[in-house]
């Protein structure tokens, strides 16, 4: 990559970031209500006032919400530049702290789910492509496509009912056993894994079909390419042909997809974390939205957006490593 390229890349990155910041700022403020008057649709037509008008004005002033919108925006930008994400109105804590408290859990399940669905998807996709048009391929295909139709929260509920409620194999909620005293690190890791297992499975299953189909179809396309015929002609054996020649080429689009998938999963995490009451960033976002906790919403959305941007950047890098044709 030459300097010029790097510059445009950074340039693009900054522009994207600014756009995200703007959307981030205005979108929550376009929702009806404000943090101090909870407008709950649960109670029809009735505002439940939980603080006096005086108190409300005080808080609005305290959080700088009586300023004109554009001033608020510039203030927000200035604070962002300083790394100050503001205070969470609901948690009464700095936004950064709230995020740091919950983000690791989400990262844990999203990354695990990504890795799991990608690896398993590639493996069964390859098996399917090699047995193309045979029974096993048809069976896998039909099964996984039907499976993909189930919404992930429904899948989560089903898994929860079966494995946690019925068989009591997994905990019903949370990321760790409350007030637990771990005798060893292994013990702690086991506890975390135990809690994260069902959310990870739910998230991965939702993505699995996509990876599987992409791998299978790309492999089938790749297997008709001339270089595969060249490889077979060289007598290097079927296995080498499939792994070194076919899979290596078929992985290119799968890698790209994985990048997008991480972003998608951040969204999916909101639902899945809700189902499993898993204290990740998704659950936090949900409560922030319900409570009109502007600063927190902004903070979380920004983190998610930056995460997605970073993922794309990484994918881009990995792709360059894998495909020599794009280096120029």
């Amino acid at each position: 990559m030459n300097g010029n390229d790097r510059n445009t890349l950074i340039y693009r990155f900054v522009i994207t970031l600014l756009v995200i910041l703007a959307i981030n700022f205005f979108l929550p403020r376009m929702m009806p209500g404000d943090p101090f008057s909870t407008l709950s649709s649960d109670i029809e037509g009735e505002d439940v006032i939980i603080m006096t008008e005086e108190q409300r004005q005080y808080f609005i002033h305290y959080y700088g919400m009586d300023l004109p919108l554009h001033e608020q925006f510039f203030l927000y930008l200035a604070n962002m530049a300083k790394g100050d994400f503001g205070q969470s109105i609901y948690y009464k804590l700095p936004v950064t702290r709230v995020i740091l408290l919950h983000l690791p859990w989400t990262i844990l399940i999203v990354l695990s789910a990504t890795a799991m669905s990608t690896i398993i998807g590639i493996i069964i996709g390859t098996i399917s492509a090699r047995n193309r048009k045979k029974g096993s391929d048809r069976f896998m295909m039909a099964g996984l496509i039907a499976f993909a139709e189930i919404p992930s929260f429904l899948l989560g509920i089903i898994l929860l009912l079966i494995f946690s409620v019925q068989f009591r194999l997994f905990p019903l909620a949370g990321a760790i056993t409350p007030f637990a005293h771990y005798t060893s690190l292994l013990d702690q890791v086991w506890d975390i894994a135990h809690h994260a297992f069902l959310p990870i499975i739910t998230l991965s299953l939702a993505q699995l079909t996509g990876v599987y189909l992409l791998t299978r179809n790309t492999l089938i396309t790749v297997s008709t390419k001339d270089y595969i015929r060249t490889a077979v002609a060289k007598g290097i054996g079927e296995k080498t042909v499939w792994t070194r020649h076919a899979l290596r080429n078929a992985l290119l689009p799968v890698v790209t997809r994985t990048g997008f998938m991480i972003g998608l999963m951040m969204g999916g995490a909101v639902l899945v974390e809700t189902v499993f009451s898993y204290p990740g960033i998704g659950l936090t976002l949900r409560s922030a939205v319900v409570n009109r906790d502007y600063a927190l919403i902004q903070g979380i959305l920004l983190i998610v957006a930056v995460a997605i941007l970073l993922c794309n950047l990484v994918v881009d890098r990995v792709y360059r490593q894998l495909d020599p044709r794009v280096t120029e």
Binding site: D226, Y227, A233, K234, I236, G237, R248, N249, P324
Partner: protein
């Protein structure tokens, strides 16, 4: 000893519902060290033959027939055993394309891969050996660690060759190795292939649509058409005397062989792979008969190491004249031997030019061949019937003649329509309506208006060029098998002459009739002639392929004739490039009696 024996190979591709017969019963043998060429146009099944030898066909294809390599039937081997033969014994240089090498692996990795797999070298030695191979094919070592897309077409071709040679195969298959390359690189690769084959002694199968390239390497040729071998034989024999109508079309359409002639391809398209009941060439053949539509012809031996698949035994003879003699009584009582013992043969669909000076007897000969005057001695037989008596012109598919002077054949008092329709009227062919339509069609064929005003014009009102076209239409309306054109352009100016000549050649090519063109204009003759006969003092002094006669005239008279062309001062009429076409015997079937 036979290295590779392919017997009755058939390959079919099955694609959604219909079947393509890409290869339809091909057999051939290759001896160690031999180079076999396979030529045929795109889609004739060349690549399919190559990849079915190595059993690389897609699952959607079915194969039958046997392929014996060194005594082993490859079809019976399990994949794992086959993998031991692939590349180690038989390697292939695939048709050059960007996709033929793995885009995400370096060139060196791809060259080294089979060496290590087949246990040729250890991992440590591999790179050194790869560098040797690069040197061998003329590729700089610096290119070892680049990716395929970073190479030019010619470099990629060399890399593919290096890869093919990695395991020292005993049989090398080259599939269209030069088609994507410029002329210069093509020659380099050809020379490289010749050198390598000489030093290493492997057998080769050279596959290409480029007959020049194949011929310059292979000692034996198979001509493939629609998945079948239509002609097989020694390269030299096939180039000098193609016997199958398709081969002739192919050879004659090759600019490297016929360098002076205008390019005229074989009209029509090759049938693509569907089941043809009869001869696959049937729809484009100028001499097809009933059986050609019903049964496919089998490849049969015909002469020494030559095989042809044609119901008529190859290009058929149309006209044969033997020992023709004709003399004019001069006023002083002496006899002028205008035609003095001429033997001539004309084959289906060819253009034979008879050239000679004025007074050499050309026109007299033309008149005898057309049956207008009877020879004193000798016979002319046309499709096994006698020409004498002048009855060959009065029906369809006969002999027609067009004269030098259009004014003599088309009376001033005739309208255009009358002139064209007259032969039909005289011979009472068809109803009046049919005659009108036929006349119109004939006029269209010679690119004249076929409606209204023009039909009613009197021939006297036409220009020389138009009148010559009307004369042509008169001949074409009788759908001749043989058209004799006697100096038809000599009365026309250069540009009109060129137009008429092109028109005539175009007609001949499309309608597939044979033509005897009589002319003293060598330059024009060369543009259209397949064969040339040189006439001097009533005798044929030389015949042969047009380019041979013109490039290397052997008779003194021909030399003078060729030398008499008024060329521009910078013209050189010698060309060393074509030596391989010209060695030894260059005789066309039937030229023995010159």
């Amino acid at each position: 000893m036979i290295l590779l024996a392919v017997n009755d190979l058939k390959c079919q591709y099955h694609t959604d519902g219909h079947t393509v017969n890409a290869v339809d019963g091909v057999s051939f043998n290759i001896e160690p060290g031999e180079i076999l060429g396979i030529v045929g146009e795109s889609g004739s099944g060349k690549t399919t033959i190559a990849i079915s030898i190595m059993r690389l066909l897609a699952d959607s294809a079915s194969v039958s027939g046997t392929v014996f390599f060194d005594g082993t039937d490859l079809a019976l081997l399990p994949e794992t055993e086959l993998d031991k033969i692939r590349w180690k014994e038989i390697a292939i240089v695939f048709q050059n394309s960007l996709e033929v090498l793995n885009p995400v692996m370096t060139i060196a990795d791809q060259v080294i891969e089979p060496m290590i797999r087949h246990g040729m070298v250890s991992v440590n030695e591999a790179r050194a050996r790869c560098a040797d191979l690069f040197l061998l094919v003329g590729l700089d070592e610096a290119w070892m660690d680049v990716y395929p897309h970073q190479l030019s077409g010619g470099m990629r071709q060399r890399a593919l060759l290096a890869m093919a040679l990695a395991c020292n195969p005993r049989l090398l298959i080259l599939d269209e190795v030069t088609s994507a390359l410029d002329a210069f690189t093509r020659k380099e690769i050809r020379d490289l292939l010749v050198d390598l084959q000489k030093t290493r002694g492997y057998s080769m199968i050279v596959i290409s649509h480029d007959i020049t390239f194949v011929s310059s390497l292979a000692s034996r040729l198979l001509v493939l058409y629609a998945g079948r071998v239509v002609e097989a034989g020694l390269t030299r024999d096939i180039l000098n005397g193609p016997r199958h109508p398709y081969t002739r079309g192919l050879v004659h359409a090759t600019p490297d062989i016929f360098i002076y002639k205008d390019l005229w391809g074989i009209p029509g398209d090759s049938p693509v792979g569907d089941r043809h009941k009869g001869c696959p060439f049937n729809s484009r053949c100028t001499q097809s008969i009933d059986i050609c539509r019903k049964n496919p012809p089998l490849l049969q031996p015909c002469g020494e190491s030559r095989e042809i698949a044609c119901h008529r035994g190859g290009i058929a003879m149309l006209l044969k004249a033997e020992d023709l003699r004709f003399s004019y009584q001069l006023p002083d009582g002496k006899a002028l031997h205008a035609v003095n013992g001429v033997n001539i043969e004309v084959y289906e669909g060819e253009v034979l030019s008879i050239v000679g000076q004025t007074g050499s007897g050309k026109s007299t000969l033309a008149h005898i061949l057309a049956g207008i005057i009877n020879p004193d001695k000798g016979s002319v037989r046309f499709m096994n019937g006698n020409v004498q008596g002048g009855t060959m012109g009065d029906h369809f598919k006969g002999v027609q003649i067009v004269f030098q002077d259009p004014f003599s054949s088309t009376s001033n008092r005739f309208t255009v329509l009358d002139a064209v329709r007259e032969p039909l009227d005289i011979n009472r062919i068809g109803s009046p309506e049919e005659r009108l339509n036929m006349a119109r069609e004939a006029l269209e064929l010679v690119r004249l208006p076929s409606t209204g005003m023009f039909l009613k014009k009197y021939c006297g009102e036409l220009s020389g060029g138009q009148r010559q076209r009307v004369a042509l239409a008169r001949a074409v309306v009788m759908q001749p098998k043989l058209l004799i054109a006697d100096e038809i352009t000599s009365a026309l100016d250069v540009s009109t002459a060129a137009n008429v000549m092109r028109l005539l050649k175009g007609l001949q090519n499309r309608r597939g009739f044979a033509m005897i063109s009589i002319s003293h204009d060598l330059t024009l003759t060369l543009k259209i002639a397949d064969r040339i006969a040189v006439l001097n003092d009533g005798k044929i002094v030389e015949t042969g392929n047009a380019h041979d006669v013109m490039l290397t005239p052997s008779d003194e008279y021909t030399k003078r004739l060729v030398g008499s062309r008024i060329g521009l001062c910078c013209h050189e009429h010698t060309n060393g490039e074509h030596d391989f076409l010209r060695d030894e015997s260059q005789h066309y079937p039937g030229d023995a009696n010159v």
